[in-house]
């Protein structure tokens, strides 16, 4: 019944060495260390990377989302007991699965044919406290960033169907080659898996977000990227009803599967930052008109922007032009938080903002050093 072996590189060596260890605890300690190191390898052959990915998936499945842990911390047991009867997450399950597609209980269909792997997802949680202490490493997505592809568009008319399909197909191959998103929603509402969810995708660039407990830098690793095939033109909503429906059922599925908090479902314009000039909004897609309500989410534009009040970023007139009044309210609230925190500490706003910017640079530096160390550590022999 067993097929051809597809194992972790050096599995034979690991097994051989493990067999020499007579103490069960020592053996387990060794195996955990050896397999963890192998799983983290950046430069794995394709087959081995597949194996590492599946092991990572398997590890994260029982863990649950740490974001939801954070959300509940500090609540009394009674409150939590009450929460159990009022779950915050949609209940969506996988109904049917094949190589080509997946069908979910809420009607979502995900096309899998072009799904591709990338670097396995792994990121350190950062405490929101003043020190920004590093929390545990997590492998499961904590949120969703919504994007627009800003790609070429044919008129959305029946006689253009073939052209729209062709352009969509070319776009899908383009974003696949670039590992640009986890999901792409085409103009007919088709949902395509691009990068597998166990891996990071190159969707967010320099980016910042935070929930009630943790802050997230580098959302490529910590958040899923969902892109709409769309182009922003003036004040017109760039997507149609089919895409809105697809986004709704996709978001429900992802929130159900990974216990993603609604406040961690945000747009690229909200999270994108430019560290060179300490301004938010390096990318401004979905700076306005994102249909949060239609997708079953609260209006997250109004959330205070964590880039401002946690890391001292500012904004400029271009950003204001590209964004909407409800997002501005989030900016104002964030500025208010900065003022309050500065006053509490006896700092001027400028001095406090500088200290936040310094914290960001330090955190980013730690993250980059970590990445560099991992890459050096996992260079093939």
């Amino acid at each position: 019944m067993a097929g051809k072996l597809s194992t972790v590189s050096h599995a034979g060596k690991i097994e051989q060495h493990a067999k020499t260890l007579s103490d069960p605890v020592e053996k387990l300690r060794y195996l955990r260390h050896a397999t963890a190191t192998r799983q983290s390898r950046r430069y794995l052959s394709h087959g081995v990377r597949w194996m590492a990915s599946i092991i990572l998936i398997a590890i994260i499945v029982p863990l649950g989302s740490h974001a939801s842990f954070g959300h509940q911390e500090g609540c009394s047991l009674k409150t939590r007991m009450m929460r159990r009867s009022r779950p915050d997450f949609p209940n969506v399950w996988l109904v049917e699965q094949s190589v080509q597609s997946e069908i979910y209980s809420n009607g979502l269909r995900v096309e899998n044919l072009l799904a591709v792997s990338n670097q396995p997802r792994s990121y350190s949680l950062l405490s929101r406290g003043a020190q920004g202490d590093r929390g545990p490493v997590r492998f499961q997505p904590a949120g969703i960033v919504f994007h627009t592809t800003e790609s070429d568009q044919a008129p959305f008319e029946a006689r253009q169907s073939r052209t729209i399909q062709r352009i969509g197909r070319e776009l899908l191959l383009y974003v696949r080659n670039r590992r640009a998103y986890h999901f792409l929603i085409d103009r007919f509402g088709g949902v395509h898996r691009v990068v597998v969810e166990s891996d990071a995708a190159n969707h967010a660039g320099n980016s910042v977000w935070a929930d009630s407990r943790w802050s997230y830098l580098d959302l490529n690793a910590s958040f899923l990227g969902v892109a709409f095939e769309a182009r922003t033109l003036g004040d017109q909503p760039p997507i149609n009803q089919a895409q809105i429906h697809a986004a709704k059922v996709l978001t429900e599925m992802l929130r159900s599967k990974y216990r993603i908090l609604p406040e961690n479902c945000v747009t690229h314009a909200q999270v994108s930052v430019n560290p060179d000039n300490n301004k938010v909004g390096w990318h401004t897609d979905w700076g306005s008109n994102f249909p949060f309500k239609d997708i079953g989410l609260p209006d997250n534009y109004e959330q205070p922007n964590p880039s401002l009040y946690l890391f001292g970023f500012g904004y400029d007139a271009t950003y204001m032009k590209s964004t909407c009044p409800s997002l501005w309210r989030g900016l104002v609230q964030a500025e208010e938080r900065v003022r309050e925190a500065a006053a509490e500490r006896g700092f001027s706003v400028a001095a406090y903002t500088k200290s936040l910017q310094k914290k960001y640079r330090e955190q980013i530096s730690i993250l980059r050093n970590r990445s560099a160390n991992e890459e050096n550590e996992y260079e093939p022999n």
Binding site: G3, V25, K27, R32, A58, R80
Partner: protein, 334 residues
């Protein structure tokens, strides 16, 4: 297996099961186990009853007009009062219909593990999500963790099926399938070199057998459980009506477990292709009746199970294997 001696408890393995809570700790190069039923029963309050319970050192606490007797003694009292015991957990998770469940679990845990010494580590078991359902296990895990943190422990958690692998499959470098057949769930884990590759649970286990056998025979579920664990043999020859009914529902449960295993491993894209056959170990109170292993193997061998198995066996001590695995994991973290 009651608590009889003070041990040098550097770490504790804790199996938080629907039916029982079991601790494992190392003492003089041996592993010592303590077991308490994860159940309680209420008796009407009177000063006399409370005094007797205190004198007899029966674990209890007073709640208004009632006295809640918990742990192993609850079974005796339930039998005495012709009641069914009540459960703090159902289907592997905290029972939302019992508002006192958290407090009672805490009491039972205190009676088993006591308060922590400084920096003492404890690893507790958590179920896997049932097949086909994205059940929220977070609340359960966080609550148990909080109880243990309040008792001063440094906590970690482990999937129940993986704990069985850690307890029983050291000889294969922790590669194989571990199954814990408990009260509420059957927890399954396929591990490869200690790494859990596939984990899931099947919500049909001992309680399913007890409840259905009780409804057919008119007996209380609690009594069915006692009889099942004391005198039932799954060998195809039944001494009485109860044994015959138990046999029917055991078969049903095993069929469901095997079908769940087959479907899960067939459907899972992340099952590795293994070069050699791997062992499968069954544990848990529901796997204790004689003949369970043989019956399970017979039914499994009749299906097109996609993984080649080198052996199918029952754990050395099915009731404590999960706690032992949790202890191994706790010691490994030290």
């Amino acid at each position: 297996m009651s608590r009889t001696e003070t041990t040098n408890a550097s770490a504790i393995g804790l199996d938080v099961g629907t039916s029982r809570i079991v601790t494992a700790r190392q003492a003089n190069h041996e592993v010592k186990y303590d077991v308490q039923l994860n159940a309680f029963v209420t008796v009407p309050y009177s000063k006399m009853t409370e005094k007797v319970l205190k004198t007899e050192r029966v674990p209890h606490h007073v709640d208004g007009n009632e006295i809640l007797v918990h742990g192993n003694e609850s079974e005796r009292f339930a039998d005495l009062l012709n009641k069914d015991v009540r459960r703090t957990m159902t289907e592997g998770l905290l029972n939302p219909d019992e508002p006192e469940s958290v407090r009672l679990i805490r009491e039972i845990m205190v009676s088993l593990s006591g308060k922590a010494e400084k920096g003492q580590k404890i690893c507790f078991t958590v179920p896997a999500a049932p097949v086909g359902a994205e059940q929220n296990l977070t609340y359960h895990e966080v609550t148990i963790r909080q109880i243990l943190n309040e008792l001063g422990f440094e906590t970690s958690s482990i999937n129940e099926g993986l704990a069985v692998v850690y307890a029983e499959l050291e000889s294969t470098n922790y590669t194989g399938i571990g199954i814990s057949c408990g009260g509420g769930l059957c927890n399954v884990c396929l591990a490869y070199l200690s790494v859990p590759v596939v984990s899931f649970s099947i919500p049909k286990a001992g309680d399913f057998i007890d409840a259905n056998a009780a409804s057919v025979t008119g007996e209380r579920a609690n009594r069915i459980r006692i009889l099942k664990e004391q005198s039932f043999y799954l060998n195809g020859h039944f001494e009485n009506k109860l044994h015959q009914v138990l046999g029917v529902y055991y078969d049903d449960m095993i069929q469901s477990l095997v079908l769940g295993l087959r479907n899960a491993f067939h459907g899972a894209r992340n099952v590795p292709k293994l070069s050699k056959a791997i062992p499968l170990v069954l544990s848990g109170g529901t796997a204790m009746p004689k003949g369970f292993g043989e019956r399970f193997e017979k039914i499994l061998r009749q299906t097109d199970f996609p993984i080649e198995l080198s052996e199918i066996r029952i754990a050395a001590d099915p009731l404590t294997a999960t706690a032992k695995g949790a202890l191994v994991a706790a010691l490994c973290d030290m």
